[in-house]
């Protein structure tokens, strides 16, 4: 059994681009779900729209990289408006239903045959990230002992990603300790009470939906640039469920919750996925119990089990305050 590799990939997953993308997506979702109480089950669509906005502008229409970034951000804002206008006046559960459906619509549009001329259908799009990597200041890989190594492409996307995470956290931190954030959190507790105090609740919920969507869309850029490709099935509903897991794991309505949640989530998942196959190879796990093909699924089972235990014994997540979580929401 090669502990260096198992430990190495696990440690890398604490800071690599995938973890950053999920952290950004979860920071956005935390604005929706943690702070505002909006049950957005379509966060993956915000990432998808941003990723495809960038990819289509550059790869399909041949326009510059920065136009693609603006198109992706604009797409996230438009998606927020499209989702919010019909649903934010209704009860919270309607938003959940509409967003989960909208996310599937977005994904199916991206992979539909009739649009494949622009979206590349189920194959997606490539060759849009050259301008981004042309800006790469790094020239070689970085290795820390024999455990961790990142090549220069990964280093560049990680650098940009961590800057984006820092900016997103700063915005959330500043906004949520302000009177604006107070209204947002009050809406989570009771909309009608906030209305009775003269605040335009629908407008605030829309602002929250846009803010969280735009922050999440940054994660879409990171994923797209990291893979140098976009594929429709990356942005399925299970992506959103992982984001929820991360938000709850870190502690909802905590500034650093999503980042730490994403680190823990990816560390555990990567560790189990690296450990099980090599344990089977080494004969530590008998083949009647599990073979190598089954190890991947078992990894997710363990992660799920861990999360169930977490919710039972620490429902407030890593950063949460148990007293606060136990308060009656009404």
């Amino acid at each position: 059994m090669n502990w260096d590799i198992i430990l190495g990939v696990s440690l890398e997953s604490l800071i690599n681009a995938t973890m950053i993308a999920y952290a950004l997506a979860a920071i956005g979702l935390n604005v929706h779900f943690g702070y505002t109480g909006l049950l957005n089950f379509g966060q993956s669509a915000f990432l998808g729209v941003a990723a495809y906005g960038l990819a289509m502008i550059v790869a399909t229409f041949g326009l510059p990289f920065w136009v693609g970034i603006l198109a992706g951000l604009g797409g996230a804002v438009i998606l927020a408006l499209l989702l919010g206008i019909p649903t934010l006046r209704l009860r919270a559960d309607y938003l959940a239903i509409v967003t989960i459906a909208a996310a599937e619509i977005v994904r199916l549009l991206f992979r539909s045959v009739s649009l494949s001329e622009w979206t590349g259908g189920s194959d997606g799009l490539q060759a849009f990230s050259d301008d981004f990597y042309a800006m790469n200041p790094y020239s070689g890989a970085v290795e820390i002992s024999t455990l961790i190594s990142f090549d220069e492409r990964e280093l560049w996307i990680m650098t940009v990603g961590w800057v984006l995470v820092a900016i997103a956290l700063l915005i959330v931190f500043l906004a949520m300790r302000s009177p604006w954030g107070r209204v947002i959190k009050a809406i989570r507790e009771d909309e009608d009470a906030v209305r009775s105090l003269g605040k335009n609740v629908v407008s605030y919920k829309m602002q929250s939906l846009i803010l969280g969507g735009v922050l999440g869309s940054l994660g879409g850029f990171v994923i797209a640039l990291r893979n140098a490709a976009v594929q429709p099935d990356t942005y399925g509903t299970e992506f959103t469920f992982y984001m929820y897991t991360i938000v709850i794991l870190g502690g909802a309505a905590r500034v650093f919750g999503p980042v730490v949640g994403s680190m823990i989530f990816w560390f555990l998942l990567t560790f189990i996925n690296a450990f099980l196959p090599s344990a089977i190879d080494a004969g530590l796990i008998p083949s009647w119990l599990m073979n190598k093909n089954q190890a991947g699924a078992v990894g997710y089972i363990f992660v799920g089990l861990g999360l169930v235990l977490l919710l039972i014994f620490r429902p407030q997540g890593i950063f949460g305050d148990k007293k606060e979580v136990m308060l009656d929401g009404r």
């Binding site: 906004a175 009177p179 604006w180 107070r182 959190k185 507790e189 009608d192 906030v194 105090l197």
Partner: protein, 311 residues
């Protein structure tokens, strides 16, 4: 209403103003702050509210009473924009309010509380209060990111909030989560928070529901003090002792309509009101009062609210 020697100026003013108002449904008041006309709300085939005309006197405490299902809370919801009527118009401070969304109603100076108290549980008591401040610069997203732009105003709001918390004896709970307060304290907090909006009129939906007797007295005192501060109070209540104690005027609703108006004493002796609460004989069979009294053990002319009064 007890004629004690120490009549407060607000009480005297309200009584003087309402002295010559006829005791009949839809009576004209000398200085109404709220005037509603032909407000109708139907739920399917049921007409929940059908108020022909109603006026609320400025600076007085008006009670809205009536049996369960009389449409009091629905009428409250309509007036404050939380529900939309099928027909009707109403003016507040001379401005039409029909079709105005609830947050704009509140900004115009008509603030309500709720029957089921809405404390914002996972916000601290002081944040609950601060939320009530109007015209906050820091409540717009872009400004919120630069604390220097709103710190000054936040401080002023916090000072006002602390004064109100002290007045409502919640200052010891300042940093606690609102969700950790007792039921009565939540009622106090909700009322104090409504005052942060600096309203002209406060609408209280069952302010005494679920409050223990010790706190009731303190809540009563606070409601009375609103009148002394020049505010108008309209409240829904079931507790007749309280209605008698604090209200200057009583409006009675029954089956969606205003069936009686007057001072507490006259209204509680009004046979229409007693009928509404205890049930009238709509089938035309006249029961012999003595017979009914013998069967039920209740005196033939029941006092208001089944003999609950102690005066």
């Amino acid at each position: 209403m007890a004629d004690d020697a120490s009549v407060l100026p607000g009480v005297a003013r309200a009584r003087e103003a309402l002295k010559d108002v006829p005791h009949e449904p839809g009576a004209k008041k000398p200085d109404p702050i709220l005037v509603a006309d032909k407000v109708i709300r139907r739920f399917g085939g049921l007409t929940a509210v059908q108020v022909d005309h109603i006026e609320i006197q400025r600076g007085a405490i008006t009670a809205l009473i009536g049996p369960n299902g009389a449409g009091k809370t629905t009428f409250f919801n309509l007036l404050t924009g939380f529900d939309k009527p099928n027909e009707g118009n109403w003016n507040f401070n001379g401005k039409p309010l029909a079709g105005v969304p609830p947050h704009k109603v509140a900004r115009q100076g008509m603030v309500r509380t709720f029957q089921l108290t809405k404390a914002l549980s996972r916000l601290s008591v002081i944040d609950n209060m601060r939320l009530g401040g109007t015209g906050q610069k820091g409540e717009s997203f872009w400004t919120s990111l630069i604390p220097a732009l709103w710190k000054q105003q936040e401080q002023e709001i916090t000072e006002r909030a602390d004064e109100l918390l002290a007045r409502f004896k919640l200052d010891a709970k300042r940093e606690d989560f609102a969700g950790s307060l007792s039921g009565g304290q939540r009622k106090l907090l909700e009322m104090a928070r409504a005052l942060m909006v600096q309203p002209d009129m406060v609408m209280l939906d069952e302010p005494m529901a679920g409050v223990n007797p010790a706190l009731t007295q303190s809540l009563l005192g606070h409601v009375k003090s609103l009148r002394e501060d020049g505010m108008t109070v309209l409240f829904v209540e079931h507790d007749m002792d309280m209605v008698r104690d604090i209200s200057d005027w009583v409006i009675v609703m029954g089956q969606g309509e205003v069936i009686a108006e007057g001072t507490p004493d006259t209204v509680m002796a009004d046979p229409r009101v007693i009928d509404a609460y205890l049930g009238a004989h709509h089938d035309g069979t006249a029961h012999d009062p003595a017979e009914v009294a013998a069967e039920t053990g209740v005196p033939a002319t029941p006092p208001a609210e089944g003999g609950k009064t102690d005066e």
